[in-house]
């Protein structure tokens, strides 16, 4: 006879789980009581939101399922932002929440919340366990759905009495879904039509999203793009999928994308979308998005099709299967010579950023840091101006090398996510870039960094404002900086020291010299190569802005540049 908690943990091990993140509390105590000797390492964060973001960091860096554990009531509600984040960014995540004992459910018992109900619209699948017998099948099914198709979050809510109860345990089970009508396209169905569209196209382009990475089809995608040799750009989650040196690669597209990418996305007449949702940050005004374009959408999740505009050719299925099928067709087809279009789209007069923007000290600073990173490094960006600067300047061919909360845009994501990444990749340089606002949303995780002695390199770009909101206020609200002033920010260096973490402050003036002085270069090298956690506060000009910028509701061709 085994306790429900022991069965639960054995089932987790059977799903290849060896690392979980969590925070204990009343209803989940039996699970914690059984942890020792289970073969599962538990990392205590200092807030449940830290746990779920750390689990996401682990999942995003490795492709494995992240696991976060919390107790009932407030523990569970604190997971909700992370669950929403995982839904938006297709992160495989299993959240385990303790629930009040089964006899009390529905009585508004102490620390009772309807976790099942409140996460329904954020999860792919969820289960309130109703008997101890259900534990093995619930876990097997949860992991299946977290991984299957478009990955996403699932929730298992388990009453505390089932964790304490005992039963005979025959071992973990496997979940096999019941078959349902498949809507995956077949090669015969889409191949000929795609070739026909390519043969008629004069200005084709390719847009790469997160799906390309999630499918694991990076090498196949790169080979296809090399063959097509058409202007190509990526969403923020597609960064790293394409070799940045590829002659056809134009960088990031969208609201703060490069001029070249946005112009090509606006002007093309055939848009090949590989695993991207085409959300509003990528399309600009949907009514004026890619006005001349026919869309071919490679997508595993049919729910993502036609959200902005009907696509000409939906190709539903795992990109690991559909891309090679397309490549085979492309190799055997006679396609037009798109050289003239490529010369226009990739030409020097469409430089990657407004040249005036490159002298901006924060961009220089990020360039100096990123230029010193090794190939296996991972950059985790929080949410705000620094995130977009980092995305603009990120140059790596590492598909899982740039991690951020893209769809949800959850401030406070970066630091706990970096914890999960560093634990998954102990030998990698993990660079966590936050702003003065976001860092304070999960600053308590400095304690986790210290406790585990994780050598994370933390940067706070501090402009004493909620910078991105302030930028919008400046540009679209007549400089009415309502409630975005953070000039009373605490001294982050002193805060880090209180957590026994080394910290330094760098003024942006050091980045006005080009090249940077030897002292500055040495300091950056020391920062990145230190075996200890390190924090660097970069004091940034209060009114520095991220450019180019496509204003909300504008077309991609209507980018704003510095001083316009």
């Amino acid at each position: 006879m085994l306790r429900g908690a022991e069965i639960f943990l054995q089932c987790l091990r059977a799903e290849d789980v060896d690392l979980v993140f969590g925070y204990p509390g009343g209803a989940i105590m039996p699970l914690y009581d059984a942890l020792e000797g289970s073969g599962i390492r538990h990392v205590l964060t200092r807030h449940e939101q830290g746990a779920v973001f750390a689990a996401e960091g682990h999942a995003r860096a490795t492709g494995k399922v992240g696991v976060a554990i919390a107790t009932s009531g407030p523990g569970a509600t604190n997971l909700v932002t992370g669950i929403a984040d995982a839904k938006m960014d297709s992160v495989p995540l299993v959240c385990i929440t303790g629930q009040v004992r089964s006899a009390l459910i529905g009585t508004d018992a102490f620390q009772e919340t309807d976790v099942f109900g409140l996460t329904l619209s954020l999860t792919k699948w969820s289960r309130l366990v109703k008997t101890i017998d259900e534990i093995p099948s619930a876990i097997a099914e949860a992991f299946y759905w977290a991984r299957e198709g478009r990955p996403g979050p699932v929730v298992i809510d388990i009453p505390t009495d089932f964790l304490k109860a005992k039963m005979e345990f025959a071992g973990p089970v496997k979940f096999t879904p019941k078959p349902r009508m498949s809507d995956a396209a077949t090669e015969a169905a889409f191949g000929d039509k795609l070739i026909s569209l390519l043969q008629k196209a004069e200005r084709p382009v390719a847009l790469i999203g997160a799906g390309a990475k999630l499918s694991g089809a990076i090498s196949q995608l790169r080979r296809l793009l090399d063959e097509l040799n058409i202007p190509t750009f990526a969403t923020v989650h597609g960064l790293g999928a394409v070799e940045p040196e590829a002659p056809y690669y134009l960088g990031m597209v969208g609201m703060h994308g490069t001029r070249a990418a946005n112009m090509a996305l606006h002007e093309n007449d055939l848009l090949l979308v590989f695993g991207a949702r085409l959300d509003d940050r990528v399309t600009g005004d949907p009514a004026r998005f890619a006005p001349h374009s026919k869309i071919v959408h490679f997508e595993i999740d049919p729910a993502q099709l036609d959200r902005v505009r009907a696509c000409e050719l939906p190709i539903i299925g795992d990109l690991a299967r559909t891309i090679p099928a397309v490549h085979k067709k492309v190799r055997g087809a006679k396609l037009p010579d798109w050289n003239a279009w490529r010369v226009v789209a990739c030409g020097e007069d469409r430089a990657e950023l407004d040249p005036r923007g490159l002298s901006q000290p924060t961009i220089r600073f990020l360039d100096e840091l990123f230029g010193r990173l090794t190939q296996n490094s991972v950059v985790i960006a929080d949410v705000g101006q620094h995130q977009m600067w980092a995305a603009q300047r990120y140059r790596s061919a590492s598909p899982r090398g740039f991690i951020t909360s893209g769809g949800l845009g959850a401030m406070g994501f970066a630091l706990p996510a970096a914890v999960g990444v560093q634990l998954s990749k102990p030998d990698a340089t993990v660079l966590c870039v936050s702003g003065g606002g976001g860092i304070q949303m999960n600053i308590q995780e400095l304690a986790t960094v210290r406790r585990l002695n994780l050598p994370i390199k933390m940067v706070i770009v501090d402009n004493k404002y909620l910078g991105m909101v302030r930028q919008w206020q400046q540009l679209f609200y007549q400089r009415n900086y309502a409630e975005t002033d953070l000039s009373d920010n605490p001294d982050f260096v002193e805060i880090a020291k209180a957590y026994r973490i080394n910290a330094v402050r760098v003024q942006e003036d050091v980045m006005r010299e080009y090249p940077v002085t030897e002292d500055t270069a040495d300091a950056l090298e020391r920062f990145l190569r230190s075996p200890e956690p390190e924090l660097l506060v970069f004091d940034c000009a209060p009114e520095a802005n991220v450019y180019p910028m496509v204003p909300a509701g504008a077309a991609l061709s209507e980018m704003l540049f510095e001083e316009e």
Binding site: K124, M181, A303, Q304, L305
Partner: protein, 107 residues
């Protein structure tokens, strides 16, 4: 108006996920019926939606793991009648001290 018939396995939360796909778009649901359909379950909804919304809803419903089939049809007369001919509302009201309910509760 369009009628939607969604065939699903009656697992925890599946009906709510079907309805959430509608409610998140702020659409009114003048008619909803869920009933057994063989070993599984069928939800029928009446919605005033355009062609684009039909496509989006159908794809959202298909993305729910236990939804097996989605069909769009012309509304039946019964659906339309039910949607317009609602009986009088009975909002909850406080009972007076003399009411039978209170008397029964105090007994």
């Amino acid at each position: 108006m369009h009628a939607f018939h969604i065939h699903y396995r009656n697992t925890q939360g599946t009906l709510m996920r079907i309805l959430t796909a509608v409610s998140r778009r702020g659409l009114d649901m003048p008619y909803v019926q869920a009933c057994a359909d063989g070993h599984d379950q069928r939800a029928s909804l009446l919605l005033d939606v355009n062609t684009k919304q039909i496509g989006q809803l159908c794809r959202d419903w298909y993305a729910i793991v236990d939804v097996m089939d989605v069909r769009v049809a012309t509304p039946t007369a019964e659906m339309l009648e039910s949607a317009t001919g609602l009986p009088n509302a009975h909002p909850p009201v406080s009972a007076s001290a003399a009411s039978k309910n209170v008397s029964a509760a105090m007994a």
